[in-house]
Symmetry: C2
Subunit: 217 residues, 2 copies
């Protein structure tokens, strides 16, 4: 597996894309249009293994996919792509269902909280895809370099497919994560998405985004 499609051209997509290039993958960054300016700058910066395309191009291209779109838009974006391109692939979902409509700090989108989650909604939308929820509990610089947080933090993983979680965990190791905890099936995406409020509370207190959680057990 050499080709990875990263959906989303924001700071999360760009950071994960750059890390994957560093690890030797060919990476396409996907956005609404094929000539997205931010993706274009990213491609120019990172050279020959860095590509850009529409969301649909990116899903078709990647042998593995990363959802780095804003949580509030993720489902619509995924629905806009041709379903057949997702079939059998691993989709790593790093997004969070944040609702900024009520001001700061954001709440979670109520219908994707407590009794459901964005991770589950994506899995339900794409039943032939192996959705793995992970990395959503840290900021993107920590996602791709666990040591940025300054300690041996824990990364949580949830998904229905063991082999997919195993492959994603290998990537997580390459991102610097040595303490990886598999919480079980995709329903446990609820738990990890519900850690965002405390992440936000801590960030608002410390003004330091490079925090991470160590599960002491």
């Amino acid at each position: 597996m050499k080709k990875i499609g990263v959906l989303g051209t924001g700071i999360v997509g760009q950071t994960i894309g750059a890390k994957l290039l560093e690890l030797g993958y060919i990476v396409m960054l996907g956005s609404r249009t094929s000539d997205n300016e931010k993706a274009g700058e990213w491609v120019t910066k990172y050279g020959t293994n860095a590509l850009q395309g529409t969301f649909n191009d990116t899903v078709a291209f990647g042998e593995m996919l990363f959802n780095c779109t804003k949580g509030e838009a993720s489902l619509d974006i995924l629905k806009s792509c041709d379903k057949k391109h997702f079939s059998g692939k691993i989709l790593v979902d790093v997004s969070n269902p944040l609702d900024f409509s009520k001001g700061m700090p954001p709440i979670l989108i109520p219908e994707l909280c407590n009794t459901y989650s964005l991770g589950e909604a994506i899995q339900e939308l794409l039943p032939d895809t192996k959705v793995v929820k992970t990395l959503n509990i840290v900021t993107c610089s920590v996602m791709v370099n666990a040591h940025t947080s300054g300690g041996d933090a824990t990364m949580l993983v949830a998904g229905n497919d063991l082999e997919a979680k195993s492959q994603v965990s290998e990537l997580l190791h390459q991102f610097g994560w040595n303490d990886i905890m598999d919480l079980g099936d995709i329903r446990h995406a609820r738990s990890t998405e519900m850690m965002l409020p405390v992440w936000l509370s801590i960030y608002l207190t410390t003004q330091n985004a490079t925090l991470a959680f160590k599960i002491i057990r």
Copy 2:
């Protein structure tokens, strides 16, 4: 301050009560009736500084209060007590708004989740009381002995009154907590209560309840 009222005679109330006795406090354990059997056994076990009473007796008795009742019952129990007894006192709220009605694992009570919390609801019910939300992110054996989790875990605190949080933090130190983080006002009770789902996911995975969270920052 020598007299502490602990509301709730379950394992949480009994454990916190026993720790407070060990620290030299006089402790009343409160329940619906003045002759509650579990409280009676606890009083017999712990001797002269251990008392029992109704919830109302306990609120009247304590110079500081602990809410160790089940989250689904907390508001009704607090409403059933004479409001004047709460006035000016610190109420340490260690409860969580768990809803077991949909099966295991519990969800959070929807109306006390995401945009509100049990901690805030208690503060709104008792505006003259200094509610401090803390300890709710660990099991009770870890609450009173942070080292039980096997590491230098973090305890989160939220509440509107700085002096109250300072007094409670001194108690937390005596419970073994060395890394205490003040998240701000009582609205941040939302964040800490929303950590319960991930606590439950981890517990279901490890079958080990003595877990705790270290915030690496």
